[in-house]
């Protein structure tokens, strides 16, 4: 087999990495997921606000992807483990694209690794629901249902964004989020309408999620979609699923604070510590 026949050898010879110095790890600048995309920010857009929007949505995706990845080797069935890992992978891909766009828009030129590995919990702008521990499969199902319904409605509108790069990232994400939502919704019905035990656990999961719902829809100024504007749409889909599952949509007093403002639970810092440990212990390492 010639070198050219093997993609990994070709990769090792890729531009900027002569001599077979393959770079696979964080911190290597190996691949910009927006490589070759026209990165100009159109006139009339507040670049800082665009960056803030991309960062928030990227952080939601990264934190969610990390929680989903934690199910690897722990899911009730192999098929569900693959499903959760696949969903996490989609979200990780969305995070990478959004971080790349944030770095272009905020003028710092930071790459995805700078955002993912070298910011502390206070700097993350993700919603708090994403960072809560996985709990049991019911809780993870309810959370995935809520977050995928919410993110899908969000991205669907962002597909018409004035920023063409963000619009393209969102349009791509819509397809993925549609089947994330489908997966979560089917499990929600199966568990809610299942055994006494599964129904009970779904109720408990909904009670746990309820105080974090208002945060998702709190009106916030800035670029992108006003979350308050998608509340009815998201709630309608949640009701559709919960009705089919025989579950109530619980109401609870909202928690004070907002993840988008850097207010987080005590669970985010340990999540990030694990996610960032190798990158911080060995800055710029390659293998």
């Amino acid at each position: 087999m010639s070198d050219d026949d093997h993609v990994y050898l070709s990769l090792a010879e890729a531009e900027g990495h002569p001599g077979g110095e393959a770079r696979w790890a964080f911190g290597t600048g190996f691949e910009d997921p927006l490589h070759g995309v026209d990165t100009a920010v159109p006139a009339g857009i507040d670049a800082a606000e665009l960056a803030g929007c991309c960062l928030a949505l990227g952080d939601d995706a990264l934190v969610s992807a990390q929680r989903l990845a934690e199910w690897c080797t722990r899911a009730p069935e192999l098929e569900e483990e693959m499903a959760l890992a696949n969903i996490g992978l989609d979200l990780l891909g969305q995070a990478r694209l959004l971080y790349a766009r944030a770095g272009q828009a905020d003028g710092t030129g930071r790459d995805e690794d700078a955002y993912a590995y070298f910011r502390d919990a206070d700097d993350f702008r993700s919603v708090r629901l994403a960072e809560l521990p996985n709990g049991d499969f019911a809780f993870s199902t309810v959370r995935l249902l809520v977050l995928s319904c919410w993110r899908l409605a969000h991205f669907d509108r962002l597909a018409a964004s004035a920023d063409p790069v963000l619009a393209a990232i969102a349009a791509k994400g819509v397809k993925e989020l549609t089947y994330h939502r489908q997966f979560a919704a089917e499990w929600a019905v199966r568990l809610g309408d299942g055994t006494e035990e599964s129904h009970h656990r779904m109720r408990a999961a909904l009670d746990r999620v309820a105080p974090y719902l208002d945060e998702l829809f709190a009106a916030r100024p800035g670029f992108g979609v006003d979350p308050a504007a998608i509340r009815d749409e998201v709630t309608a889909v949640l009701r559709q699923v919960l009705d089919a599952a025989g579950l109530p949509l619980p109401e609870a007093a909202a928690l004070p604070g907002h993840g988008r403002a850097g207010d987080h639970t005590e669970y985010l810092a340990p999540l990030l510590a694990e996610l960032q440990s190798v990158a911080r212990a060995h800055p710029g390492a390659t293998w």
Partner: protein, 190 residues
């Protein structure tokens, strides 16, 4: 070869035409090379079969510009695809190669060519149905959607069932044939 030959003074307009012809030939050759690059995850398919290669052009300075679009946001094969296309073009003598990412419009399985679909089936992977068309307004959630039947790529039986909507790669689902009892993969429409 990539550099456009000097076309000389205006009196040699015929030579300029010849140079244009050479450019066209180069562009066609570059396109053919890029089209034949196999997909890293589905190596029986070329990037052209998969609909991932969105264009190959030669710029005025002789740079070959190949445009690729990712299948899924998190597709880990994008780096390999880019590197492979660039390496093959360089190997074919194109000194200046640029790979561009195109995100819009987003990739759809509808772009898998008829030849690509036949190749998938020949390799035991069921090709995708047409991607769902969406109306305007919120994307509906169908909880009682009847699943499309996917014919077994081995025995052709329609008696098949989904084992998992997620499989070894983002783009595939896992199915099982109740006729021949073989498991098989299905490229899910997106």
């Amino acid at each position: 070869m990539t550099a456009r030959p000097a076309t000389g003074p205006t009196g040699l307009a015929g030579l300029a035409d010849l140079a244009d012809l050479a450019d066209l030939r180069d562009a066609r050759r570059a396109r053919q090379i890029a089209e034949q690059v196999p997909d890293p995850e589905l190596p029986m398919l070329t990037l052209a079969d998969l609909g991932v290669l969105r264009g190959v052009e030669i710029g005025p300075d002789g740079t070959v510009v190949a445009s690729l679009t990712p299948t899924y946001s998190g597709c880990p094969a994008m780096a390999e695809m880019r590197a492979d296309v660039a390496a093959r073009l360089r190997g074919a003598g194109f000194a200046r190669v640029e790979i561009r990412t195109v995100l819009d419009p987003p990739w759809t399985t509808d772009w898998i060519t008829p030849a690509g679909r036949r190749t998938l089936a020949e390799h035991g992977i069921a090709p995708p149905h047409p991607a769902p068309r969406r109306a305007t307004g919120p994307i509906p959630l169908e909880l009682t959607a009847t699943r499309r039947s996917v014919a077994c790529p081995r025995c052709g039986s329609a008696e098949t069932e989904e084992t998992s909507r997620f499989a070894s790669t983002s783009c595939k689902a896992l199915w099982r044939c109740r006729g021949c009892l073989e498991p098989f993969e299905y490229v899910k429409e997106i």
